[in-house]
Structures are given as C-alpha cells and as structure tokens.
Symmetry: C2
Subunit: 338 residues, 2 copies
C-alpha cells in the first residue's frame, strides 16, 4: 500500500508533514510518497534522522497551496502545487490514499475532482471525530456542504455509520440527527424530511437510528454519529473546540494561581494528563472526506508530526477496510427516488 502525503500542507509544514509521514512509514511499514519541494523534503528527513527509512519516496512539486488561495480554483491555477500533484498521483493510481493538512476547501474540491464521488453519492462530506462522554462521536457533515438536501443527510448518516463501524470499530453505531429538540416533529423542513428517511432506514435495520439529538446530547455521548448539514455541523464542531479551549484555560488559571494550587495540580497531575489526553486531537489524526471513491484524510491545519503520523495510520486503515465497497453495495438504500 502507498499513502500520498502532501508534504507542504498545514500550518507546520513542511516540518510536521514530512516528519509525520516518515514516522508513519517507519512505524506502519507501508510506503509513503512525500509530495513537495525535493530539497526541502530531503532536508527535513535529514534533520530528523529519517533519511534512511524504508518505503519513503519524494515526489517533486515546486509550488504550494496556502490558506488564502481560492479553494475552487487553486488546483487548476497551481498545477505544480504539492496538493495538485498529490491528487494527480491519487487519480493515476500511484497511491491508494491521500493525507493533507492543507486548505480544507481546496482539499474537498480536489477530492471530488480527482478522487471522484462514489456513484450515487451527491456530495463528499467532512467527518471529524470529537471526544464525548464515554467515547467519541463522528460529526457528519462538519463543514463541506453549507446547503444540504434530506437525501444528502441520509447519505451522510450511512457514510459516517459505515466508517465508524469499519474503521473505528464501533458496533452498530448509534446515529442521531442533530435537531432543536428530541420530539419526532422537531426542526425545519429539512430536518423533518431527513428524520423520515432516517427513521425508515432505521426501521428496515440498515442504520441504528436513535432519533433526534439536541446539541447538548452530542458531547454527552448520546450517539456515535451526529448527522447534520455542513453549516450547523461546522458551528457545532467549532463550538465544541471553543468551549473546550475556554474551559481548559480557566482550569489552568485555577491551578496556576498560587504555590498552594500548584501543589494541588501536582497531586492531580496524572488525572489531568489523562483529561487533556481526552481532548488531544493529535492522536486522532484527521477527518476523512466521506463519499469519495478513494480515501482522503484531512489532517487538522495545526497538525504536529504525531497528528500527521496518525492521519496516515487512519488512511491505511481506511484503505484496508473495504468501506468504500460497502458504500457501493448499499447505495440503493441511500438514494431517494424522485
């Protein structure tokens, strides 16, 4: 297996992307293609003492996509950017999956253009995993599609449920529809229509649909997959991140207040380390773009080398999982006849 890594994508590229990609090659024993400026990539490998790791190939790309580039056009405008070259390698079958910490919009455009949507799937969706009470929850869609139809929400439910099952090992993932109340009748027309589709899929035993979930129920662990349109999903994802950051800072302030509280911290250090670990996104790695015919993983923009390494691990698991074939086999249940 060969995983393509965009060596120039992300806030900490090229260092984190190259370093993390090389660590992954060493750790997991699969081939890694590092796409970027050859001398830059080679230098990072040398600095980190990873030049001799087996299975690493540097693929030249002399330009890069940055966060200010227009997502819709940049891959055409910058055909020699690391992301564009990475996608062309994916399309040509030179690699099995693609990992990038770069511009999210450009990556989604590329995933659709070069990876291609699975036949019958209307749109690709971003599906990050977040910590919640007693485990993790996958949000889908968390930002790829600002406007959605009920059929798209049904597809997001199937895609994320199959991913949670086949890659994350969740048995019968509980699928919830993010809504403004739990009653069957809640929500705007989109939610009401999606509820009916999800209910039917649940009744037929194709999804483990647990009904509507309120915003609070997602962090409190009421479902394994939280289905929403990409606008709401983006707001919810970032609200979770923001509250976690705000509270973590407040708690740090409590511990740093005096000599006494610092001693208090030392007494709780192990537990606090575990607590921080719950919210450590690095160990997750990245968010898959679901519905695309080849595995594409979006690593967080601020990924360090551990996050990139884990994103490659995720890409390997995704490639091995047979999840994309499972989507193809079930596509008739995700399609609404008109």
């Amino acid at each position: 297996m060969r995983i393509i890594v965009d060596a120039m994508g992300g806030d900490n590229a090229p260092e984190s992307a190259v370093w993390g990609g090389a660590l992954a090659a060493k750790e997991y024993g699969e081939e890694v293609l590092l796409v970027g400026k050859p001398e830059v990539v080679a230098n990072v490998l040398k600095e980190k003492g990873l030049s001799d790791v087996k299975g690493i190939t540097i693929m030249p790309a002399n330009d890069l996509v940055d966060m200010h580039d227009d997502p819709a056009t940049v891959l055409r405008r910058k055909p020699d950017s690391s992301m564009a070259v990475a996608f062309k390698l994916l399309k040509a079958g030179e690699g099995d999956a693609l990992v990038s910490a770069g511009n999210t919009g450009a990556l989604l455009t590329g995933a659709t253009l070069y990876g291609g949507r699975i036949k019958g799937i209307r749109r690709g969706a971003l599906a990050p995993v977040m910590p919640c009470a007693n485990g993790q929850v996958m949000l889908c869609d968390a930002g790829a599609n600002t406007e959605c139809t009920a059929e798209m929400l049904l597809q997001f439910a199937f895609l994320a449920s199959l991913y949670a099952e086949k890659i994350n090992g969740v048995v019968k993932p509980r699928v919830g529809l993010v809504n403004n109340g739990t009653e069957d009748t809640k929500g705007d027309p989109l939610r009401k229509e999606a509820y009916a589709l999800l209910k039917k899929a649940g009744d037929e035993g194709r999804l483990n649909f647990v009904g509507n979930v309120e915003g609070s129920m997602v962090p409190l662990g009421a479902c394994d997959v939280a289905v929403c349109d990409g606008f709401t999903g983006n707001v919810q994802l970032k609200t979770i991140e923001g509250v976690a950051k705000f509270m973590s800072k407040e708690i740090k302030g409590v511990f740093m207040a005096s000599v006494g509280t610092k001693l208090g911290y030392l007494l709780c250090k192990k537990g606090m380390d575990d607590f921080r670990e719950v919210f450590n996104q690095d160990k997750i790695g990245g968010a898959p773009f679901l519905g695309i015919a080849k595995p594409v993983i979006k690593a967080h923009g601020s990924s360090n080398e551990i996050a990139v390494m884990n994103a490659v691990r995720q890409a390997i698991a995704y490639t091995k999982s047979g999840m994309i074939d499972a989507v193809k086999e079930n596509i008739q249940y995700m399609t609404v006849s008109e």
Copy 2:
C-alpha cells in the same frame, strides 16, 4: 412596579418559583404577583417563612401548563393555567413584566399573543446569556425561530445589542454573525444577505458589527452578541451547555480519584468554586424574549429559587431600562424595504 411570576412553571415549581418570587419581593422591594393555586402558593410561602413579605399578592389559577403540552394551543386549551392567567394579567396592565420557568414554546406563543410584538418587529427571539472568555455573550436567537429571514437576523442584532447595552451595561456591544468562516463571503444565502444588512448598520454607526464569527469564537469571547437563526442558535447554546457539563464531570472525576487528588482539590477549592461560578446559570436568572412589547423573561426549566429571584431582578431592570422604547425609536433601521 409589579412583576408577574408564573408560580407553577418549571421543573421545581411550585417551590422554586414561589420561593424565588418571594425572595425577590423582599430583596428588591417591588411588588410580585404569584400566579398559581392559592393554597399551594400560600403553603410554600409559609414553609419558607415568607408569608409576611410586603408586596406579594397571590393571583389564583387552578390549572398548569406542563412540558408535554402543545405550545401552540395550550394557553387557549387551558385558560385557567398559571401561564395563561399570568399573560392575561400582563395584557390587562395588572403587571409590568412576566417571569416563567415553564414550557418555552408556550411562553413564546403567549408572549407574542398577549404581550404583542413591537410594531415592525417580525418575530420575538430568545436571547440567553452564556459565559465566555473575559465575560458573557448573548445568543440571539437561541431557539424561538427555526426558520429566519435576513431581516429577522438584523432585528435580532439590534434587539440583543440594545438589551446588552441598556440592561447588562455593555458599552457598544460587539455584534458578531455566527457563520462557518470569518471571510465576508462565507455562509449560505441567508448569512450572506444578513452580513450585508449588518455591515450597512455597522457602517452607519448604528451597531458595533464585528463581522462573521466562527462557532469557536463565541465561547472564546470575540463578541458580546452572537446573531444566528433559532435553529443554529439552539444547537450552539445546547452544545455549549453539553460540553461544559461533560468537561465539568471529567474534572470532578480527576479530583475524586484518590485521597491525594482530593487533597489537591482542597488546595484549589477557592479557584474551582470561582470556576464553577462562571458556569452558574442561576445568578443570571433567565433569558429575555426580545421584540415583545412587554418584558417577558424565560427562567431556565430547572431553575432553583436563586435563579427565579435573579430572573425577577432581570425583569425589573428590563422594565426600568427604556429598552423597548429604544427599539421603537430605531425601528426604521431594522426594517428592510421590499
């Protein structure tokens, strides 16, 4: 001034509603009308030793609205419920403002039917205040209107900004539009249209519009007023509550792990108490329904007596503030000509 309190509304009614209403009468020296079953209300007053507080009047209502009643019809179906009687008193001018911890939907229906919308205002909006980094943020609309127009979002911005200024004492409240990115061009058609209206109001100096805010920026304190449609606002509000609950529980688990960590907790107790106080909704009291011609405050369903007392405090401040007149005076700037 006379504040009408729905003595039978909320999870902890009648105890908390009666107790809190009576404490408010005692504390703030304004008249309080307690609407409910006379013997039940009198009993609670007696139990709490508050029967002799000056300014308390019991107004009889022998039925009650519960959480399962249909919000749209219950006030007509149950004309002798405490909430229906409270609204009739408000409409008749027997009281200046109304406080209830009861069924939110029924309260909004009643506010519109009996309180009446301010002329030119399209819809009433729920505007709770949440803790955030360095202060508090008012979310508007947080759930009253599942579907919104851009004009409604403009009105929510004005209403919440005027409230934040006149009741909460925020100088030039920073108004942000909750969106899926900070760039001017972000969002669905509703957000793009609302952005243009808010930008214009900002440029004219009528609002302190700070632009689009992502979900994370709300808890991190980027604005004093976060404007959104009621669907997204409800999801965001509840997500904040859910993450706060989840994290608080995790931290409690850290402190309760062993004798050593319990000692650690004692060393940090003052700071942790202050931290909890930041997230203590009881001291806020309730969320105003904005855009209504008379002050209506929704206390949290799980309000204790302190929360109800503070909701009455808020109702008094709202009544005194001249905020509703300020809305009337500025209504032409909140109206989009067709």
